[in-house]
Amino acid sequence: MSSIGLNHFLIISSILFSLGVFGVITRKNAVMVLMGIELILNAANINFVAFSAYGGFPVKGQIIALFVIVLAAAEAAIALAIVLNIYKNFNNVNVDEIDNLRE
């Protein structure tokens, strides 16, 4: 009998989530921040699939995961477009130098 249970998957997703947050907070480069966001999304996705697999309704959670993947694709496209725009305006993509929000 396998000793792997729901908790194992949840722990992995927790770690992935924390790593994603770390990436978002500490990286200067906007593209790196995006990668952190992708990690966070994937962590959430693991949770969806794991809960649905262990919760007795295997397909519905997967649908949500599918939707999240689609959203992630849309988000990546938009975010990269914005990053390109920022690059044109500021000539770099370091998020710490783009602090117009303060004004």
Binding site: V21, V24, I25, T26, V33, V95, D96, I98, D99, N100, L101, R102, E103
Partner: protein, 697 residues
């Protein structure tokens, strides 16, 4: 042909104009020929409604077909019980005849407008508006519940507003649009209240269910008085839409719109919607409500007829004539002549649309001259327009062999028998008086426009017969005004198929004590029952029969008298019109100034607001100022006390607060870096704080 085909045809006729509106509106800016799409669609609609009418009359003449869907199912609602709102269409003879009338006139007006509006800068948009108007009118005609009717009611109001103000660069046109919209709204308020009364009482909007409930004896607030009130409130909508007294003031101003629009909306269809609505709710009207309706109808038949005598704008004369004829129909319904009222609606729709289109033809060829005093002699230049116009004038005056004679004669006979049964002879008197006036002013218009010598030679020389697209609709409408379409006997419509088979008076569902006495059937009349006409008593049937010939001769006499006077006055000039006008100066001015209704409403609205401002001024001067002065004194005393308090206590507190917030501001300033990442970090930190807080609690 089965019922579902009929339903599909009607639904097509309902929704195709909407599609035409959307397509034409969206493509109109780019595509120069978008109007052809709209014209093509309206032709299909006409075809569909002709087929539907034939199928209905040939196979289902005694059967009402209903098709409905549940729109909102509210389930069990507290207090109200089970509640659901249905949408649906009701196909009976009345609605299909009306559908045919609407689509025919709409189609003719479409074709006519191709020529009339040529060169307008919003050409395609004009056709789009015609499309949405046709859609909403079809909605009113076909619906089987009063909620949908109200929705479409407002939609025709909107499209009428758009079309009256179509040339909105002209201030008078945009003002007229606004006036029509606002005056209509006053009437619709009453109708809305009536609908609410019905919904509160019967928990449904569907006509059949409401009538069934009334038939079972369920009344609003359990009293016949409130049933009367409901009927009158619903009728308020018709007062507004059909331009009845006292809300008739908007219709003449609505003539600012393009003339084909006047023919379609403000003569034949939309203004008839009010009358149509009354026929729909006819069975739930009590005797008192019907008397009210008859009174309003008689007033609106008489007053505009007197105004029309002196107007010189060709379209204004026709507009007042429309109001007057609508009053006729309403009066007919009020005196219980359901079939004649609706019959007159149909015949009037044809010849009045024809009159407007004819006047449009004149205006078009005279380069937008509308004053009949500057016209004359157009008979030779525009023969088709002249002969059709003459025929319409004969029809509206009620000369035999025309459709107008049949319906008008029926209404007058009904009014007479109503008088002999109830003692209210006034309606018959007003009816004959209006018939006289109508014949007079129509022939005055005709003679001044087409006969005699041209007064404006410059314009006369350029006048010409209109192109075929404009004359063919005139001819079609003239043909439809011939008696033979309605009955084979040109003197009595009762024996024709329209009144005998197609339009049968429905049975009233109102408690017998609240009906007119003659609408209660005491003994079953064998032959009448066979036709389903069991609502009237035997006395009524006999009285109507007796008054038929007197009414016919009398109406013929007054019509000929009216025509004769007009002929003498304007053609032969045996009587000097100006001298007669001079001898009755006050009356003449009264009529010329439209009974001063606009001024009266101006005085009421403005005077009332002036009065109100005076009251408010007094209130301001004595009460408000007194309070202000008194409180000023109190303030002075208290301020002395509070001044001391302020200096020591408040200032101390304020300074302390300022110091504290300054301190925190300096401390927290560092967190507002403007960097997104700082904010994310703080959010994560916040989540953790929450977690610990939850754990500790």
């Amino acid at each position: 042909m089965n019922e579902s085909t009929l339903i599909s045809l009607s639904l097509f006729a309902l929704f195709a104009p909407l599609a035409g509106f959307i397509i034409t509106l969206l493509t109109g800016k780019r595509l120069k020929t978008a109007y052809l799409i709209e014209n093509f669609i309206i032709s299909l609609v006409l075809l569909a409604s002709i087929i539907a009418l034939f199928v209905k009359l040939a196979y289902y003449v005694d059967k009402d077909i209903v098709s409905e869907i549940t729109w909102i199912d509210l389930g069990i609602v507290p207090i109200m019980g089970k509640l659901s709102i249905e949408l649906g269409i009701l196909l009976d003879n009345v609605s299909l005849i009306m559908m045919f009338v609407v689509s025919l006139i709409s189609a003719l007006v479409h074709y006519y407008s191709i020529e009339y509006m040529r060169g307008d800068k919003r050409y395609n948009r004009y056709f789009a508006y015609l499309g949405i108007f046709t859609f909403s009118m079809m909605g009113i005609v076909l619906t089987h519940n009063i909620l949908m009717m109200y929705i479409f009611w407002e939609l025709v109001g909107l499209s009428s507003y758009l079309l009256i103000g179509f040339w909105y660069e002209k201030k008078s046109a945009s003002d007229a649009g606004k006036k029509a919209f606002i005056v209509n709204r006053i009437g619709d308020l009453g109708m809305f209240a009536g609908i609410l009364m019905i919904f509160v009482t019967y928990h449904t909007f569907t006509f059949d269910k409401i009538f069934a409930a009334i038939g079972e004896g369920i009344l609003p607030f359990n009293s016949e008085f409130w049933l009367t009130a409901t009927g009158i409130l619903l009728f308020c909508g018709a007062i507004g839409k059909s331009a009845q007294f006292p809300l008739h003031v908007w219709l003449p101003d609505a003539m600012e719109g393009p003339t084909p629009v006047s023919a379609l909306i403000h003569a034949a269809t939309m203004v008839a919607a009010g009358v149509y609505m009354v026929t729909r709710i006819f069975v739930m009207l009590t005797g008192d409500a019907m008397l009210f309706i008859a009174t309003i109808g008689a007033l609106s038949a008489f007053i505009p007829a007197t105004i029309a005598l002196t107007q010189t704008d060709i379209k204004k004369v026709l507009a007042y004539s429309t109001v007057s004829q609508l009053g006729y129909m309403v009066m007919a319904l009020g005196v219980g002549a359901y079939a004649f009222g609706f019959f007159h609606l149909v015949t009037h729709a044809f010849f009045k649309a024809g009159l407007f289109l004819g006047s449009g033809s004149v205006i078009h060829s005279m380069h937008h001259e509308q004053d009949i005093m500057k016209m004359g002699g157009l008979k030779k230049k525009m023969p088709i327009t002249y002969w059709t116009f003459l025929f319409y004038s004969l029809a509206i005056s009620g000369i035999p062999l025309t459709s107008g004679f049949l319906s008008k004669d029926g209404i007058l006979a009904s009014a007479m028998s109503f008088g002999s049964l109830t003692g209210y002879h006034i309606f018959a008197v007003v009816g004959f008086l209006v018939a006289l006036l109508t014949a007079f002013y129509m022939f005055r218009l005709l003679i001044l426009t087409f006969h005699g010598e041209p007064k404006d030679h410059h314009k006369f020389d350029h006048a010409h017969e209109s192109p075929a697209l404009m004359t063919v609709p005139l001819i079609v409408l003239a043909i439809l005004s011939i008696f033979a379409f309605y009955t084979l006997n040109p003197l009595d419509a009762q024996q024709g198929w329209v009144l005998n088979k197609w339009i049968t008076t429905p049975t009233s569902v109102v408690p017998e004590s609240a009906r007119y006495p003659f609408m209660v059937n005491h003994e079953t009349h064998g032959s009448a029952e066979a036709h389903g006409q069991i609502i009237h008593s035997v006395e009524y049937t006999e009285s109507l029969h007796h008054s038929h010939y007197p009414a016919m001769f009398l109406s013929l006499f007054v019509a000929l008298l009216g025509i004769f006077i007009a002929y003498m006055m304007y053609e032969k000039k045996k009587m000097d019109a100006d001298k007669i006008a001079g001898s009755m100066k006050p009356l003449y001015n009264f009529s010329l100034n439209k009974w001063y209704f606009d001024e009266l409403y101006g005085v009421i609205a403005i005077g009332a607001s002036l009065r109100l401002t005076e009251i408010l001024k007094w209130f301001d001067n004595t009460i408000i100022d007194g309070i202000v002065n008194g409180s000023g004194w109190i303030t002075k005393v208290t301020s002395a006390i509070s001044g001391w308090f302020d200096n020591w206590v408040i200032d101390g507190a304020v300074n302390a607060v300022a110091y504290i917030s300054g301190f925190f501001g300096i401390a927290l300033k560092k967190t507002q870096t403007g960097k997104v990442q700082t904010y994310v970090a703080l959010a994560v930190f916040g989540v953790m704080v929450f977690y610990f807080a939850m754990r500790l609690l």
